[in-house]
């Protein structure tokens, strides 16, 4: 039997935490060969990163402990090597890139120095290292490499920073590149570019690529084989297309079913009558930055309008402006025909009840020092006419049940919940006001796919039960497809295209909308392959 490039056999790792010993991974086995791409797919808490961290010797021990298994690099067991041997492998033979490159690059050193350090650490002379760093910067597509050498990480954009990480990782021509959620925080178009770069470089160098991700679309785009993990164990492994089309394990099936963008598109609605909310020619400046350049928007009662755009498109500014969290500089906002901007504070205060918001990160949108009961009942403290105090307790219990939690959770604090549960609490808090319109600002984008599907389902149910309207801000097109009635595409503070879901998804007019659709990843490897083909053609026709 020939040795694999890298093989993990029966690896088990546990961590000692406050809640006792946690088995992070149990009996995990996978292997990676030269020139192939293996994806480890899993949701948060599945232990998908743990075996890679064990390979890199990045698990802090204690609290971590490897209880069993071997890690073979070209047939040699890494776990029996000395720390010095492990150090020499890191970067030179196996390199790693991470999610959130800004946090992973040292903020106080130039990127040129950081890339060159990779090589000087592994014994290359300084001037050669610097020359190669310059070359690498050009290779990964950083404009003006000479100037870039002397710049600091904060002076680059998110996509460029990930390119810098890639340049650094490839400096010593490693045999293996481990990429831990490399595109998670990036815009879809940038994500496509970074993945393409990784693939290109892999073909050039013949390295093995280990990709850790939560995103079926990324797997479909780039992986040859896939390992699916759940709760610290491998549930399924195989060829990426086969696993997608013929999943064996129920968890894999659930994960694939939860992937957004496959449901029925909603029927078209009648849009006559008085709109619930209208925005007209909204303007907003932040200093010299023109965030909103005259945005119009109409939401009918019971309608869900999605606003889609990449970072910097002004979609969140729009949400905040409509709720008057940041007052717009110009334009009008009409709620049931009356102007929110010209309204006296007393009337605005009363209107607050009707317009509620659910934020992206429930960890931050819930006050950490308030119990769930206080969080929800604060609505009635501020608006005492909604509910007499005697009924608060029962109503909180009722709302918690409505969002899929249990009444006894009212006594707990936000940090005692998972991300999905916290978002449910935030939704319960919005419902406590008995609103007509809920603005969801990226309300599901921080959640795992299966949780995401559940929360969308919850929002959908509430819409039907209470006749709610939603303004749904998102960067992710597939999520919008199943849930919204109408879609507005924004770019650089302007509306690029607007229409029903069917119009936008099936017959987009504007090139930008098409580029967005082309860049978003489909979980089906075959669909994705076709889409990639289409994208490449599109790129050839209109150069960037």
């Amino acid at each position: 039997m020939t040795d694999h490039l890298l093989e993990v056999r029966d690896l088990s790792v546990e961590f000692h935490t406050a809640a006792g010993t946690v088995r992070a991974v149990q009996n995990v086995s996978w292997h990676l060969d030269r020139g192939e791409t293996l994806a480890i797919l899993g949701e948060s808490g599945s232990g998908k990163s743990v075996s890679a961290l064990a390979v890199m010797n990045l698990i802090d021990m204690p609290p971590g402990r490897i209880t069993s298994g071997t890690i073979l690099l070209n047939g040699r067991d890494m776990l029996t090597m000395t720390p010095e041997e492990r150090r020499q492998i890191n970067g030179a033979t196996i390199a790693m890139i991470f999610q959130d490159p800004l946090a992973h690059l040292n903020p106080v050193y130039t990127v040129g120095w950081q890339i060159a350090e990779m090589m000087t650490t592994h014994g290359q002379p300084g001037d050669r290292a610097r020359a190669r760093a310059l070359e690498l910067l050009g290779r990964v597509g950083i404009p003006d490499p000479d100037a870039a050498m002397k710049k600091y990480p904060h002076e680059f954009s998110g996509g460029q920073r990930q390119r810098l990480m890639i340049a650094m990782a490839l400096a010593c021509k490693p045999d293996i590149l481990i990429a831990d959620e490399p595109t998670t925080a990036l815009d879809v178009t940038v994500q496509a570019q970074v993945l393409a770069l990784l693939e290109e470089l892999q073909q050039e160098t013949g390295m093995g690529l280990l990709l850790i991700t939560h995103d079926l679309g990324v797997v479909a785009e780039i992986a040859d084989r896939v390992v699916v993990m759940n709760a610290g164990e491998i549930v399924e492994t195989g060829n990426a297309a086969e696993v997608y089309h013929n999943p064996q394990h129920p968890y894999t099936r659930k994960l694939i079913d939860a992937a957004p963008g496959k449901g029925q598109m909603p029927k078209e609605r009648d849009r006559s009558g008085q709109p619930l909310l209208q925005a007209q020619k909204l303007q907003k400046h932040y200093g010299a930055f023109h965030a909103l350049k005259g945005v119009d928007l109409t939401i009918m009662p019971g309608e869900t309008v999605a606003v889609v755009g990449e970072s910097g498109s002004g979609k969140s500014t729009l949400a905040r402006a409509i709720l008057r969290l940041d007052d717009p500089d110009g334009g009008r906002i009409l709620y049931k025909g009356s102007d929110l901007m010209a309204m006296p504070p007393r009337d605005l205060f009363r209107l607050r009840r009707d317009l509620q918001m659910v934020f992206q990160d429930p960890t931050q949108s819930l006050n950490p020092r308030m119990t769930v009961f206080k969080l929800i009942s604060e609505a009635w403290e501020i608006h005492p006419d909604i509910l007499p105090k005697a009924q608060w307790k029962d109503r909180v219990a009722e709302l918690l049940v409505k969002v899929g939690l249990t009444p006894e959770m009212a006594k707990r604090y936000p940090h005692q919940f998972s991300g999905g549960q916290r978002q449910r609490i935030a939704i319960a808090r919005a419902l406590a006001m008995e609103p007509k319109l809920i603005v969801c600002d990226e309300a599901v984008s921080a959640l795992d796919v299966s949780i995401q599907a559940q929360v969308i389902q919850l929002l959908d149910g509430l819409r039907r039960e209470f006749g709610l309207s939603y303004l749904f801000i998102a960067h992710d097109l597939p999520v919008v497809r199943d849930f919204a009635d109408r879609v507005i595409v924004m770019k650089s503070g302007r509306i690029v295209e607007e229409g029903t879901v069917r119009q936008i998804f099936e017959d987009p007019v504007q090139p930008y909308t098409r580029a967005l659709l082309a860049a978003s990843l489909d979980p089906d490897p075959q669909v994705q392959a076709a889409r990639r083909h289409a994208r490449e053609e599109l790129e050839q026709r209109i150069p960037a």
Binding site: R352, M357, F359, L366, E378, I382, H415, M433
Partner: protein
Amino acid sequence: MSDTRIQVPVVAEKGRIGTWLSMLWADKLAFLAALFLLIALLCAILGPWLMGDIATKQNLRGRNAPPFDLSRGWAYVLGADALGRPLLARIVVAARVTLLVAASAVAASAIVGCVLGLIAGYSRKRAAQWIMRLGDVIMSFPSLLLAVIVLYMLEPSVANIVLVLAITRIPVYLRTTRAEVLEVRERMFVSAAKVMGASDSRIIFRHILPVVLPTLVTIATLDFAFVMLAESSLSFLGIGIQPPEISWGLMVAQGRQYLTTAWWLSFWPGLAIILTTLSLNLLSNWMRIALDPAQRWRLEMKGRKND
């Protein structure tokens, strides 16, 4: 059903004090520190009443009596001063002025600094600018020097000492509060409260202040130690507390001229200062963890194991 509902809060209340105690017990040094501070506090409250007479009774035959000699009675266990007054009793009595001055100065500077910091952090108006400039101006004064000059000119009295120390410490709270408010103000739960229609005062007092307060309490504890040291330095220089009132710093100063013959005159009150400030430091470190809901589990876990 209704019975249990009434009982729940009572149990929770008891539980809360119990949790705090067990969290304190989890950090043994902090527990000792709290115990010592409690004793010091009792001395400050009851000391003058219990030992006021012994502490002022001069006994020229017992001048500079050495410590650890019980033949004169327990009050003389730490020795006696130049006028034959028992040191232990004097230290107990001096706790009142020492702690009172520090506590008043800390309370005054913390309240003023916190209020100004909340205004400077929350309002975007011109007032915020002026408050920060004022803080800069106070910061650029040499603080101890300022105290020396002002106290020398104004006659050293307890009120003046408190006033001077409080003024010089205001920027500490002002800056911390403002920096924290600026950060907390941008957090999403504040936006969430605004969306609900919460008023400015509700946002400040219900959402921002509770998040900022633990930091301030921690700083105030640390600052209590600093102010105590500053007061004792001033008293040591002769421009702080004036006899016949006594503070620990003054006692160290009074013992200085007998250094070569009777070291204990300065040593014991100095030790009292060190132990108090050390306790405050330890307690402040403990608070930093105990008052943070995200870190509190460290202490709760340990506390449970020790039960």
